[in-house]
Each structure stands twice: as structure tokens, then as C-alpha cells.
């Protein structure tokens, strides 16, 4: 009984992450790659993402501190950040990244900095939520299969 409850909670949590627009289809794709040989694949990928992207975050912050702002450099880092974020299905982070790129294109330093703050908030919040999600999923047991949210 308890197990079923836990699983329902996990499913509900995942559903809410999708409903809030934090995750997209790519996350489901990752879950579909999870199997007996790779039982924690999604968590591993997300961990890898946060570890690697922290390097990008510090590059970003260094670049944003400079005056005048080097838009080309910023755009290059954002390009990679966007690609990385999209590979884990981080929908909102990806959207904010696109926005920053737009501001780079138009040479809007204020816009870049403001968007970056927003993006960082989303990025940090998502990390916490995914940590909770994986913890719950682990407790619920390995039967967490990929299921498309409604």
C-alpha cells in the first residue's frame, strides 16, 4: 500500500514539474533510456549537467561583470548553456537562455543582466526540485517507468 502511495506521489510530482513548464519532452526521452543496465540514468545525467554547467555559470557571471559587456562572448557561453539545458529537458531555463541570446543580439546589456538573474533563479529552483524528485523516486522503488504526463 505504502509503495503505491509513494509511486503516486512521484508521478504527481513529475506531473507538477511539467505543469509548471519546468520540464519538457526531453525529460521523458531520458526516462525512456533508463533500464536495468542504466537504472539511475536520468539522475546521473542531471547530476552531470549541474556539475558541468556550474562552470558555465561562473564564466557567465565573470563575463557579465565586465564593462562594457562582451556580447559575443556572452552569446557563445549562452549557446552552450542552452544546448546543455535542453538535453535534460530544462524548459524554463532553456527559454530564459534564448531570451538572453536575443538581448545579446540587440546589444542590450541591461536586458542581459536582468534575464540572467531570472534564469539563474529558475536554474537553482529546478535543481532543488529535481533533487527532491529523485529522492522520492528512489524511495518509491525502481518501478518508475517513463509515463507521459497528461
Amino acid at each position: 500500500m505504502d509503495r503505491n502511495n509513494s509511486r503516486r506521489q512521484v508521478a504527481a510530482m513529475k506531473q507538477s514539474l511539467f505543469d509548471q513548464g519546468l520540464l519538457d519532452e526531453q525529460f521523458i526521452q531520458l526516462e525512456e533510456l533508463q533500464d536495468d543496465a542504466n537504472p539511475n540514468f536520468v539522475e546521473e545525467i542531471v547530476t552531470l549537467y549541474y556539475r558541468d554547467s556550474s562552470r558555465l555559470i561562473s564564466n557567465l557571471e565573470q563575463t557579465l561583470e565586465r564593462n562594457p559587456l562582451d556580447f559575443n562572448k556572452l552569446d557563445t557561453i549562452m549557446h552552450q548553456f542552452k544546448g546543455s539545458s535542453s538535453s535534460i529537458g530544462a524548459k524554463k531555463v532553456k527559454a530564459e537562455s534564448s531570451l538572453i541570446r536575443e538581448y545579446c543580439r540587440t546589444g542590450n546589456a541591461e536586458g542581459c543582466r536582468k534575464s540572467y538573474q531570472q534564469m539563474k533563479k529558475e536554474y537553482v529552483a529546478l535543481r532543488k526540485k529535481l533533487e527532491n524528485y529523485f529522492q522520492l523516486a528512489r524511495q518509491a522503488g525502481p518501478l518508475e517507468r517513463a509515463c507521459r504526463p497528461k
Binding site: Q29, L48, Q80, S84
Partner: protein, 210 residues
């Protein structure tokens, strides 16, 4: 037995070289490619990729690479691979810029995929290998003397660069050794085996089963 390139031939073991400097993207790509049952080698550097390709032209069937790699322009890599090795190259990018895609295709990419790449898209990339080799062999191997029907239709799968007489000799040897070597077709570590012949053998087996 005549072999045709119908879509129920499974290209298991097709050897892919995947290049992306982003570790997350590379890991996901690698896993997706393995799920398609391709044999995957990964690297985060274009220079490394080129070295691997130059070391042995016949070691890979297809290259899939991100457009933006720090140590070399992805289009430059694309050009070099096309010129030196004549392998099919698929470009990947996080941006769906039509101009970039056009640039890729005009530099010789056989496809341009948007990240994040989906499994369904990767399941079809083997077709580029077959297509390329068929069009290459049509242009080059006019003097091909087939031993029998199988040899003739197999010629399309061979690397474009190899000698004609060698090809027929090797293929004959492969058919003889096929039964013995069937179990050894897993990883790339086998010195005696021509890896592209392994892929051919799997395709042949599939046809013979049907």
C-alpha cells in the same frame, strides 16, 4: 541470394564517431546511439576526432558532430572529413538557424539535426551510410567484377577508398570465415576483423534469415 536495401535490414554495429564538447549532451547522445545498437566512440575534441579518423579510415561508418566545438570550427571538421575520409557527417546544433543548416549542407553534411536529438531521428541515420556508399560506388566502381549476386550488391557497402581487387578478395574471405567469426563481432578490439565487414555480415545474416 540477392541483397536489397529494404528497411528491415538492421544496421547493428554501425560504427559512429560522436563529437560534442558538452559532456551532458555527449553522454545523452552516446546513450541514444547505443540504444540504436550502434557501436559508439565519443570525443569532446575535433582534433582528437580527426586523429582517430586519420589513423584508420575504415574504422568508422559515420561521424556525428556538434557545429560549435571550441578547438575547431565544426564546418572545418566537416570539410576535412569529407575531403580526407569521404565519410557521411551529420551536424548537430542547438540552434535551428536555417542559414546554419544551409551552410552545413553546402559544406557536405548529409544531415543537420537540432538538439536535443530524438531517438527516432538517430534510428534512421544508418540510411545515410548506405546512400552514400551506393552513390559513391555508382560513380567509381565501374570495373567491379562480381563473383556472384551477393558480391555485386555488397559492393555498395564497401568504403569508397579501397581497391577493387582487394575488395573481392576480402569479401570472399569474410564469407568463408563468417561462421567462425559470427560470435566475435562485438567490440572493436579484434585485430583480424575488418569492422565494416562485421556490419555487412549482420546485414547479410538478416537477409538470409528472411
Amino acid at each position: 541470394m540477392v541483397m536489397d536495401d529494404s528497411t528491415d535490414l538492421l544496421p547493428i554495429g554501425m560504427r559512429v564517431l560522436a563529437v560534442d564538447d558538452d559532456p551532458t549532451c555527449l553522454k545523452v547522445l552516446e546513450t541514444l546511439l547505443r540504444r540504436c545498437e550502434y557501436h559508439v566512440t565519443t570525443t569532446s575534441q575535433a582534433i582528437m576526432a580527426l586523429n582517430m579518423l586519420r589513423e584508420n579510415k575504415d574504422k568508422f561508418d559515420l561521424v556525428i558532430s556538434d557545429v560549435h566545438i571550441p578547438d575547431m570550427d565544426g564546418f572545418k571538421l566537416l570539410e576535412l572529413v569529407g575531403l580526407e575520409m569521404d565519410l557521411p557527417v551529420i551536424m548537430l546544433s542547438a540552434y535551428g538557424d536555417t542559414k546554419l543548416a544551409m551552410k552545413g549542407i553546402s559544406h557536405g553534411a548529409c544531415d543537420y539535426l537540432l538538439k536535443p536529438v530524438r531517438l527516432e531521428e538517430l534510428k534512421n541515420i544508418w540510411q545515410h551510410v548506405i546512400r552514400k556508399k551506393k552513390s559513391d560506388s555508382k560513380g567509381k566502381n565501374k570495373t567491379n567484377k562480381p563473383d556472384n549476386a551477393t558480391s555485386d550488391s555488397c559492393s555498395g557497402l564497401r568504403s569508397a577508398g579501397t581497391e577493387n581487387s582487394d575488395e573481392n578478395g576480402r569479401l570472399a574471405k569474410k564469407r568463408k570465415d563468417q561462421d567462425e567469426d559470427e560470435d566475435e563481432v562485438k567490440e572493436n578490439g579484434n585485430d583480424n576483423e575488418d569492422p565494416s565487414a562485421q556490419m555487412k555480415m549482420r546485414l547479410i545474416e538478416q537477409v538470409l534469415k528472411n
